[in-house]
């Protein structure tokens, strides 16, 4: 306990073996060469897949931020987070179509309905996430770290089963309300409004989140709590309330992601949270778990890699291999750069 705190928090000068560093460098160079080759083989397709990748990345970013926020404050990988995102898709369908009568071709009123659905879904999912923390994680606050982790996996299954019971085992269709007309169409590269809307709606959410964490009193409390809970408490910070608030925000982000994704992909199924959640988690680790801009960077990177892999014409492995590639990245990051692209090295090494 009385160990010198300065020693453990000083950046440790860890010299990576040059062999491994060299391997990593060669790998990155090969990737760049491959991309350049792709871009010259079919420039328009390359541009097209890049745009789709950015859109994917925007959705992943919203989910990844939830993982990173919760990890930052509790050092807990909240496996249930992806499933809250899935629930958000279902709530979007329920709120949108059943409450507000949202359907294709309603004209300008669509904007209002989508916005109302978005806000309502964010509120609902935020509350659900905070409730999950209260019921499932708070009683385990003093327990070894493995206990809440396993609980999180349990909660994930419970939510999937709720989704299964609620909307059934098949894909549920969400109303296709985003316009499919082109924003621009240059030299065979088309960018459609339904993609752009996702990106346009994601950016302000991200900026608002950064502002909240870095500028507000509540954000200060969040940062202090994430760095030292006991110290935060004796500063007068209500630690439990701060943690609840963090889960609320993370849930609201999952809600936003769920609404955007379901209206964009127009389908929702009970198990989609698992897969997208894992991809988003990988993105959070890639960027440096606990680091907000890192989560966005990681998410866009993963979105691009996925989209390039699935859409580029010249000797790409194709969509069958997307998950293998994503998880190979996860493994390589954990081996070669566990702190992620933007993460700070911490005493725990992650």
């Amino acid at each position: 306990m009385a160990a010198d705190a300065s020693a453990s928090t000083l950046p440790t000068r860890f010299k990576r073996p040059t062999f491994i560093g060299g391997l990593g460098g060669i790998f990155v160079i090969l990737l760049v060469v491959l991309l350049v080759k792709e871009a010259t083989v079919s420039p328009s397709q390359f541009a097209q897949t890049t745009l789709i990748g950015v859109t994917n990345g925007a959705v992943y970013a919203l989910i990844a931020l939830g993982y990173t926020l919760v990890y930052g404050i509790l050092e807990l990988i909240n496996f249930a987070h992806g499933d809250v995102f899935m629930l958000a898709g279902m709530f979007t369908i329920t709120f949108g179509t059943h409450f507000f009568g949202l359907h294709h071709g309603q004209g300008p009123v669509t904007v209002l309905i989508v916005f109302a659905t978005l806000v309502l879904t964010m509120l609902t999912c935020g509350s659900i996430n905070a409730a999950i923390e209260f019921v499932a994680y708070r009683p385990l606050r003093g327990a070894p770290r493995l206990a809440p982790l396993i609980t999180a996996i349990g909660v994930s299954f419970i939510i999937q089963d709720v989704g299964l019971a609620w909307k059934g085992p098949n894909y549920v269709t969400a109303p296709d309300v985003f316009p499919h007309s082109n924003v621009f169409s240059v030299g065979g590269v088309n960018y459609q409004w339904n993609h752009l809307i996702v990106v346009i709606l994601t950016v302000p959410v991200l900026l608002a989140l950064l502002w909240l964490v870095q500028r507000t009193r509540q954000g200060k409390a969040m940062r202090a709590t994430s760095q030292d809970k006991d110290a935060a408490a004796i500063m007068g910070i209500n630690v439990n309330r701060t943690i609840s608030f963090t889960f609320l925000i993370a849930g609201a982000l999952a809600g936003a992601a769920g609404t955007l994704y379901s209206l964009w992909a127009t389908t929702v199924r009970f198990d989609q949270g698992f897969q997208l959640g894992l991809i988003a988690f990988t993105a959070a680790v890639l960027g440096g778990i606990g680091n907000l801009p890192g989560a966005v960077l990681g998410a866009v990177t993963i979105g691009l890699i996925q989209s390039w892999n699935e859409g580029l014409p010249w000797h790409m492995p194709g969509s069958d291999w997307t998950q293998s590639i994503v998880f190979s990245i996860l493994i390589m990051i954990l081996v070669f750069r566990p702190e992620g692209l933007l993460g700070e090295k911490t005493p725990e090494g992650g």
Partner: protein, 248 residues
């Protein structure tokens, strides 16, 4: 137990602890501790590692609640008050191991000390005051707290506690791991803070320095108070001299 003229010890108790029993998990760490701090006093807790000094402080600040007994601050019971409310009542702490926020700057750490206050301009002038006490902190104000030396971190931790404008300041091992020149300096500042009207409860390994600064002292052994007296009397007490002042 009257004051010994070493400080401005008033008569009114600000903190009264009576017969508290505190546990660490299943370990019975405090077995009926009673002590008091009066307004304007510096009181020190002496004792070997594991005697219960830090646990006593954690019982007061709400991080480790006693299962039995009562703690009263300015006449009001705070035994079961949440830790984040206790600082609002006027008890601040520089905890064991400093516990700064390592990835925040010095300025941000000091701001966190004033988290429960709303008077912005007053907070600014208090920060100036902390920088006057510790000019070194002003030089380092943009540096991340986790990257500073032990002595600088200690100053920052004490400064952070002062930012709460406490009526009672709990200091846990302020001299631990510091170079002798820093130790002298820290104790000067402790006296200075006390003269400006803050009561202090001081836990310290360096018994000689602590007894020099304090008005009164308590000696703890395995969760019990075995001695309580004026600092001057404790300094001449044979047991204390043998055990804590390193004389044979």
């Amino acid at each position: 137990m009257s004051a010994n003229g070493n400080g401005a010890a008033g008569g009114v108790p600000i903190l009264e602890i009576s017969d508290i029993h505190t546990y660490y998990g299943s370990i019975h760490a405090l077995k009926g501790i009673s002590l008091e701090v009066r307004e304007g006093e510096i009181v020190t807790l002496l004792g070997a590692n594991g005697a219960g000094k830090t646990t006593t402080l954690r019982s007061i600040n709400g991080l480790n609640r006693p299962r039995q007994g009562t703690i009263r601050f300015q006449g009001r019971e705070i035994t079961t008050t949440a830790a984040h409310d206790i600082v609002k009542r006027g008890i601040a702490q520089s905890p064991e191991g400093r516990r700064l926020f390592p990835r925040m700057s010095v300025t941000e750490n000091l701001e966190m000390g004033a988290f429960q206050r709303n008077d912005k301009s007053e907070i600014r002038s208090d920060m100036e005051r902390v920088f006057e006490l510790f000019p070194r902190l002003q030089e380092r104000r943009h540096q991340k707290a986790g990257t500073m030396s032990g002595g600088e971190q200690q100053m920052c931790a004490i400064g952070r506690a002062l930012m709460a404008r406490p009526k009672l300041l709990l200091l846990d091992e302020p001299s631990l791991g510091l170079a002798p020149i820093f130790v002298e300096r820290i104790f000067d500042i402790i006296r200075q803070i006390n003269e400006q009207g803050t009561s202090i409860l001081l836990v310290e390994q360096n018994a000689l320095m602590a007894l020099d600064a304090a008005d009164r002292g308590y000696v703890l052994e395995t969760g019990r108070i075995v001695l309580a007296d004026n600092a001057a009397a404790l300094k001449t007490n044979e047991e204390v001299r043998k055990t804590y002042l390193g004389e044979s």
